[in-house]
Amino acid sequence: MAKTQLEEINRNIYDFKNKDDYDYKIKKGLTREIVEEISKQKNDPDWMREIRLKALEIYNQLEMPTWGPDLSELNMDEIATYVRPKGKMASSWEDVPEEIRNTFDKLGIPDSEKTSLAGVGAQYDSEVVYHSMKEDLIKQGVIYTDMETAVREYPEIVKKYFMKCVPINDHKFVALHAAVWSGGSFVYVPKGVKLDIPLQSYFRLNSPESGQFEHTLIIVEEGASLHFIEGCSAPKYNKVNLHAGCVELYVGDNAYLRYSTIENWSKNMMNLNTKKAIVGKNAQVDWVSGSFGSHISMLYPMSILNGEGAKTEYTGISFAGKDQNLDTGFKVIHNAPNTSSVVNSKSISKNGGKCTYRSLVRIMENAKNSKSSVSCESLMLDDFSISDTIPTNDIRTDEVEFSHEASIGKISEKTIFYLMSRGISEEDAKAMIVRGFAYPISKELPVEYAVEMNNLINLELEGAIG
């Protein structure tokens, strides 16, 4: 039998784009003048402007990463860092400019809101243009707004937490982010408040040659609980796009936070995202992460288990096709006794795509009686795709339970024949196997996102059978 070739997929439904229409765009490249201009445009308070300028200095000092995917295609001088869409913050859907609204309609944002979601903060290019939240949440003291508003209206909270979980000098792209950040979500859940429906935001990059540097800051106070969902998407342009967002999560004692993302970037995107969580005593943070699209991704969410009895679970999947190099994984620091971490990672590669699972498990001397179990599985759909696992385990005490399992597999011809003997076409059989492989991840997602993920898998697998 001839080998099955899966052609490059048709991403039309994701690749629609509006004409590059914005009222302000700064010149390319990154200088002190630009950072100051951004700061001025945003009416930053002095303390924020100082953070930006300090970050720029650090950015200029730090080298590019010497490990992981090759980033030499990235020329920072070519990337305009700040794009603002037409229109100011709108409080109702009707106030959002029509062209932007159409984009969101195609992505199904208002529908999601209409059904079960408590609030929507959708970011179009660099500013949040639409925002809403149910009134009872406001009454309970929950704050859900864009980062700029948070800096203006809740400076004490932002000052206390901003770039504290992820230090500015963490790596070059964090420094860049801190210098030019723009947009993003801010959530504050006060002590003891439990949200039983998820909050969500949707990011979308629309302008060629522009980076997106949104900042997400979530604080879940003692005994509170939240599920936050972030979706990201960008249409396709020929030039390389950069995304260097930052997510900081603070989970107080006995609190719970579930942070779910489906990132569906266009295939020219450099996605260099940094996400960290600090977890308090008997608290828990769960990450659910789906990485689709992008040209290169470097994404390693990290949980720092600082409180005794803190827990974390990471459930992640990535899917790399032609010309894609997805370098993803999870990091956890066990920094207190009786902490636990569970990692369940899956990757799918096809058509020459490369998936790497890169991880760190560090269990400190004081983290007695901690547990960590890691499982990563890879599925390769052809003979020329690549899958790799690079775990780092740094265990500094004997009193731990630790396990690591890794497996790499291919779809067998026998399995395809079995499914075809039930009347299922070869293409559908492969999609079915991949969906089944991804199921442990998709079942963790809210239903709209699970459906979107299955659609993405089907889209990725669509193509001629040779």
Binding site: Y418, L419, I424, G436, A438
Partner: protein
Amino acid sequence: MSKELLNIKDLYVNAGDKEILKGINLKINKGEIHVIMGPNGSGKSTTANAILNNPEYTKVQGKVELEGKDISNLKTDEIARLGVFMSFQLPEEIPGITVTNFLKYAKNKVTGKPVKIFEFKDELKKYMDELNMNPKNMDRSLNVGFSGGEKKKNEILQMLVLNPKLAILDETDSGLDVDAIRTVSKGIELFKNDENGVLIITHNNKILRSLKVDYVHVLVDGKIVTTGSQELATIIENEGYAKYKN
């Protein structure tokens, strides 16, 4: 209407460079149960796989017809949609797809019609009762962690649900205990009617003790060397294949 269901004409099949089938002729009419017996390596499973055009095998000569239509070069899924089913000797495990969802999907593909979920679940439950299957298996991943017996029963369940014109059972009885073999026989009886046919491939005749069949073919070294009635199976059981070998 012609009674002819399957007609294999002078079929030669290779696996890689190796010649396996060397001129098979076999005709199955509607309403008949046929058995192919034979020693290991004689080409029994190859015959089953060749009917479904498994790409691991190459047809060198001859053809396979279903209801007079040449299906020799159709793709496996097309053949399945025309009404051919095979119960596998070693059913594949598919993680993440439940038995219910899988069968619902397959039924939709085979019938080309939407499947009504409640009716479908009732039907599934009815058949699972008949086959002494644990109803919880409906919600488990297809064949994952199933015992050998559960997998075979699950194949019979699929046969009943998909209701093909021709069911090929490849070594479905092998490795099963007496009770499980009876259950499989019961499944075949439940399936069988005047409009469909069954081809049972086996290397022993345990299943034939609890099932009435119309023809027994003996396959040795890629050829059908003799054909008889059910009694032939008993003779083979007593005497072995020695006298058919060169």
